[in-house]
């Protein structure tokens, strides 16, 4: 009985660690989405496409620098920047003219963009699967808990998550743009009435949000095959996380990602055949208890 219990708890601990590393990517992507949703009021359907483009860019940059560890670090640096530049162009050319229109117009625009980005990706990178190798120093695994391997790369992701969260907190709470954007989220007329160029603030927030989508794409690339269609899987999960956490609330996105990632990895332990339903079950339960999401929605 005792032994069985220990085994059970070791299993649980190992699944929590694995689940948390998956949470990192979900959080990074969902927080960017939530940021854009909260400040600009755009349900950005193209967010998943930017995540996909981030992964494909990571492939190209990593190849450009020889495909090894150096390639990965350059990809981590350059690919999200590439996505940021792309999103900046899209924001200045398209979005900024539509902020005053209905949300539906923006939603349609992002939907159209997701289709265009999908086709552009196919045009640029072709249809074959791509792969970004795990950087040398993160190859292999450690066994923190006896008998349960944790890939070193997942350990790296576990460290990246909190770093991004802290940087995001600093951006939103300590920078002038962050403060203005929080104010603009509540009352954009007032902010613009005191003489602040809201349009520029929006552009910055949009780019930061999309940068996070690209960053998520780069971070996920070494663990999956980089392929067309990877945007669809992610966008669903990211939306659910954002809704669960409270629309537009970045910390809500963190909590939502934690619930989503952990309910999945622990669900697998409870009922392996039906492990897939647990995150969705969690979403249903959360929304039944708090239909507006766990934290304060900015909508």
């Amino acid at each position: 009985m005792d032994a069985a219990w220990v085994l059970f708890s070791e299993k649980v601990l190992s699944q929590i660690l694995v689940g948390l590393s998956r949470t990192t990517i979900l959080f990074i992507v969902a927080s960017g989405m939530s940021l854009i949703l909260g400040v600009l009021r755009i349900p950005n359907v193209a967010h998943g496409s930017l995540y996909m483009i981030g992964a494909f860019l990571a492939y190209s940059v990593s190849r450009l620098f020889g495909g090894g560890s150096q390639g990965f670090w350059m990809a981590l640096l350059l690919a999200p920047l590439g996505v940021a530049v792309l999103s900046f162009i899209a924001e200045r050319a398209l979005f900024q003219h539509l902020y005053k229109r209905e949300h539906l117009m923006l939603l349609l625009l992002t939907f159209a963009l997701s289709l265009i980005f999908g086709d552009l990706t196919k045009l640029v990178w072709g249809a074959e699967y791509k792969s970004v190798p795990v950087p040398q120093i993160f190859q292999g695994f450690v066994t923190i808990i006896a008998g349960f391997p944790l890939p070193l790369y997942n350990l790296f992701l576990l460290a990246v998550g909190p770093v991004v969260a802290v940087l995001l907190w600093l951006f939103v709470n300590k920078t002038k743009i962050g403060k203005i954007s929080r104010a603009a989220a509540v009352d954009r007329e007032m902010v613009s009435a005191v003489g602040i160029n809201v349009s520029l603030v929006f552009a910055v927030v949009f780019v930061v949000g999309c940068f996070l989508a690209g960053l998520g794409g780069v971070l996920v690339a070494p663990t999956v095959s980089v392929t067309l269609g990877m945007d669809h899987t992610l966008i669903m999960e990211a939306f659910l996380i954002v809704i669960m956490g409270g629309l537009g609330n970045i910390w809500g996105a963190l909590i939502g990602a934690l619930i989503f990632g952990l309910s999945q990895s622990l669900g697998i332990l409870i009922w392996p055949q039906f492990g897939i339903i647990f995150p969705y079950l969690a979403v249903v339960i959360v929304l039944m208890i708090k239909p507006t999401g766990l934290l304060k929605s900015t909508w």
């Binding site: 289709l115 265009i116 699967y129 669809h232």
Partner: protein, 403 residues
């Protein structure tokens, strides 16, 4: 400025929606191809199309079929059965194609197959994996050019039954393909080796990105061998997670198409070694002059190695040409009669289409992934050939399933 930008984006959108269509010409042999050209499936379907084009161009250069050039029209079904069916209808009703071929989506293939039966148009299925296509729902007008999941399962069972493993775990994509591959292996493995036991099962959603939590769970259960029933990009995702967790070193596992070039080439030298898999075609095996010539031609035309889809497309074009030649005129019924049981020379030797169920009789290669200094990605080693007759359902079984 704004307008021109919108125009550019509009053009991109239109450009992506319609793939190039060859011009309408009189007196051609028209083949209508419905397949998925958007999304992840494109990794397989472009090979079918390019293989077909390669053969058709060669046939056309030699004067075509019965004095007619082969003309092909492509339509994108976007992986949606309703769109695919509409496209097939349009090709038959409006374009009046003589033969239909496609698609990688089993539901679409079944829908088009029903339509082909009603319209009496021959339909060559080129990448769908549902056994329903030519078993339960099989009929005179449908031909199967790829192996189906039941066949893949049997082929793997044939090879696995000779191995010493007894405690098995099954894990896979929670959809029709995953379950039917797993069932195919398991049902036949139990028959061939009564000692095997199923320790447990894991099923995840299609498109699952991170397999690590599933893998740690399987490791904890300590089976001897794991049957991993993934498809598409899940193949690569699982292999990456298997390598990162050390799973591929500590536990032997099988994935159908694990040794296939589309799975391995993507990963370069980082793919895990020692993974068991099956495939209908490998560009380096068999090492014959015919295969080498095909690979050279394909590489020259498209600057990449042909994958299994290329062979399906290439053979489909050749069977269409030879079938009509033998029929002596462009007559669909005579064409079907002549293709039944017909065999042609192919890159992998003489290949026939079985008369009773219209199934292409390709051999299956069972092998294990390994590094080969000749290539910058992993290839299959210890290849064991499972002849078509050993893993195809018998004609009686097919007949029984159709009742």
């Amino acid at each position: 400025m704004k307008k021109s930008l919108l125009l550019v984006f509009g053009l991109f959108l239109v450009g992506g929606l319609f793939l190039p269509v060859t011009s309408h010409a009189a007196q051609t042999l028209k083949v209508g191809i419905v397949d998925t050209y958007t999304g992840p499936a494109t990794a397989f379907t472009l090979d079918v199309l390019d293989g077909f084009k390669l053969a058709a161009d060669k046939i056309n250069a030699k004067g075509g079929v019965l004095g007619r050039k082969i003309e092909y029209l492509t339509r994108d079904d976007k992986f949606k059965p309703d769109i695919g069916l509409n496209m097939a209808k349009e090709l038959v009703m409006k374009e009046e194609v003589d033969v239909l071929m496609g698609t990688i989506n089993s539901a679409t293939a079944l829908a088009i197959s029903d339509f082909a039966k009603a319209e009496k148009v021959p339909f060559f299925v080129t990448f769908s994996k549902s056994d329903k296509i030519n078993m339960e729902k099989g009929h005179r007008y449908v031909f199967m050019m790829s192996e189906h999941s039941e066949m893949a399962g049997r082929a793997a069972a044939e090879a696995l039954a000779k191995k010493p493993y007894t405690k098995y775990w099954i894990a896979g994509d929670d959809y029709e393909y995953g379950h039917s591959i797993a069932n195919g292996v398991w049902k036949h493995l139990q028959k061939l080796n009564p000692k095997v036991k199923l320790v447990g099962e894991t099923w995840w959603k299609v498109g699952e990105a991170d397999f690590t939590p599933y893998i740690t769970q399987i490791i904890a259960a300590k089976p001897d061998f794991v049957i991993v029933a993934t498809g598409g990009s899940g193949m690569v995702n699982f292999q990456k997670a298997a390598k990162a967790t050390g799973f591929s070193k500590s536990m032997p596992f099988y994935q159908h198409t694990a040794i296939e070039t589309s799975t391995l080439a993507a990963q370069g030298k980082n793919a895990p070694e020692g993974v068991f898999g099956t495939a209908n075609y490998l560009f380096y095996y068999p090492n014959t002059a015919e295969n080498k010539a095909f690979v050279d031609e394909f590489q020259k035309a498209y600057k990449r190695y042909p994958k299994v889809g290329a062979l399906y497309g290439y053979l489909t074009a050749n069977f269409i040409a030879e079938g009509f030649k033998k029929a002596g005129k462009i007559d669909k019924e005579k064409f079907i009669d002549s293709v039944e049981g017909m065999s042609i020379a192919s890159p992998v030797g003489k290949i026939a289409i079985r008369a009773c169920d219209h199934q292409l009789e390709l051999p299956m290669y069972f092998g294990v992934t390994k590094l080969d200094p000749k290539y910058d990605f992993l290839t299959a080693g210890n290849i064991q050939v499972v002849p078509a007759n050993d893993y195809m359902p018998t004609c009686d079984e097919v007949k029984a399933s159709r009742k």
